[in-house]
């Protein structure tokens, strides 16, 4: 599920790009599966088709998706390891009240402490 929040100061293009990366790396969108067409996603999110096209283009540059005549497909080698995703899932379930920013800050602090 992709969400575009018009009250968020982050540009819609960046919101879409970030969430698509999360969906792909998190394995929610399986490798090789087809993403919706630019027009379909833009229509559902009420944004300009160019915004979605730009997000897809950015993902292509990062090697997460590939676009051909048949559409945009998720690349097969970009999904995070199961071990990492399971650990992240446990962490998120353990702190249901925390915001994403706080959770990331906590992980970053823990990471710095470990290293």
């Amino acid at each position: 599920m992709i969400v575009v929040d018009s009250s968020d100061p982050t540009p819609p293009f960046e919101q879409i790009r970030r969430q698509l990366i999360d969906e792909i790396r998190g394995g929610t969108v399986t490798a090789g599966s087809k993403l919706p067409s630019v027009r379909q996603l833009a229509g559902d999110l009420s944004v300009a088709p160019g915004t979605v096209a730009r997000a897809y283009g950015a993902l292509e540059e990062e090697g997460l998706v590939e676009t051909s005549k048949t559409g945009t497909r998720v690349q097969s080698n970009q999904i995070l390891p199961d071990e990492l995703r399971n650990a992240a899932g446990k962490f998120v379930r353990a702190v249901p009240a925390a915001s994403l920013e706080d959770a990331l800050r906590a992980v970053r602090a823990e990471w710095n402490y470990r290293s």
């Binding site: 599920m1 992709i2 969400v3 575009v4 929040d5 018009s6 009250s7 969906e23 929610t28 969108v29 087809k34 993403l35 919706p36 067409s37 027009r39 379909q40 996603l41 229509g43 559902d44 999110l45 009420s46 559409g71």
Partner: protein, 323 residues
């Protein structure tokens, strides 16, 4: 060829009678928040209005075309027609349906004023809201129409005029208007256009923007499902009716040939051979099959009308309960 034009009012009357006797199916129940009740009601009214407008095009366009052709038969002013008038009559159901399904394709949007819009990453295809058995029936009917048109086209013999093909059989007497390639090519071209129109319509129905609220999404899915069902049923009606017309034309011509084959040019009875007997049996089977297909075509029309004329869903409001 008057009988083809008379099929139009006949079918409208029969469909109307069946529709009045048919009990309406209960529509889908959709639950939305109290704040979205207005949007759900408005979306339902808009979709119903759009589909009813499309349905109104069937008798309007069909009636106008049929009346114009009948009038031109009665009072021939020598106007050149792009196609033979009989060809126009044969493809009238398909032409009307092409316009109807294209009008049906414009699924209205639900009015939402939300700051957070959501979208699923699932690809919506033309088949997403389509019932597969109904689509398979349409494909089978289309293949049957194309195959019968080709077979009759190959069987037809030219009558000397390079444009018109009649069944000029070697038997003495008999013969009649036969759906050779003169009629077959417009049928095949219009069938191709209908396939393109149905695909475009289903594609448009599936790809249109979806609302964000879950309740409205259910309502939206109900509208799309009903619209896709009406499109498929309308297309099936047109294909089946055209198939019936083509088969009936061929069968009646065969029947004439088989009956004419019993007499020579001077009206003397000649021994009936096995080919004439076979033609006689085939023509009677063909007439029975054609009438049966007209009944099936009526079923599709009633299905299309009952899908499109009623409301796509019922709205109930989800009340907030204090804990």
């Amino acid at each position: 060829m008057y009988w083809i034009a008379l099929l139009v009012p006949f079918i409208i009357v029969v469909a109307g009678l069946i529709l009045t006797l048919t009990k309406r199916r209960s529509s889908v129940a959709v639950t939305v928040g109290a704040d979205l009740r207005g949007a759900a009601d408005l979306g339902r009214r808009r979709s119903t209005r759009r589909l009813r407008l499309a349905l109104l095009l069937i008798p309007t366009l069909g009636g106008v075309i049929a009346a114009a052709i009948i009038a031109s038969y009665r009072d021939d002013t020598g106007t050149d027609w792009l196609l033979g008038r009989t060809s126009f009559l044969i493809i009238t159901p398909i032409l009307v349906t092409i316009v109807t399904v294209l009008v049906m394709a414009f699924v209205p949007r639900f009015a939402e004023t939300v700051s957070r819009r959501t979208a699923e990453l699932a690809v919506r295809l033309p088949s997403t809201y389509t019932q597969h058995p109904a689509l398979a029936t349409l494909i089978i009917a289309g293949v049957l129409l194309a195959a019968s048109t080709l077979v009759f086209g190959v069987l037809a013999l030219p009558n000397g005029d390079s444009l018109f093909y009649f069944y000029g059989h070697h038997y003495a007497g008999g013969g009649g208007m036969f759906p050779g390639f003169t009629y077959g090519v417009p049928v095949l071209v219009s069938l191709g256009l209908l396939v393109a129109a149905v695909w475009l319509s289903l594609w448009r129905i599936a790809r249109g923007p979806r609302p964000t609220d879950n309740g409205l999404r259910e309502a939206d899915a109900a509208v799309r499902t009903v619209t896709a069902a009406a499109v498929i049923a309308m297309a099936s009606f047109a294909v089946a009716l055209t198939l019936a017309i083509v088969v009936l034309m061929a069968s009646i011509a065969f029947w004439d040939v088989a009956d004419g084959g019993q007499f020579d040019l001077h009206g003397n009875v000649v021994p009936v051979n096995s080919t004439a007997q076979m033609l006689s049996v085939l023509s009677r089977c063909g007439v029975g099959f054609g009438i049966g297909v007209i009944v099936v075509a009526n079923y599709f029309l009633v299905h299309a009308i009952s899908s499109a004329a009623g409301a796509a869903y019922r709205v109930s409001t989800q009340e907030l309960v204090d804990a």
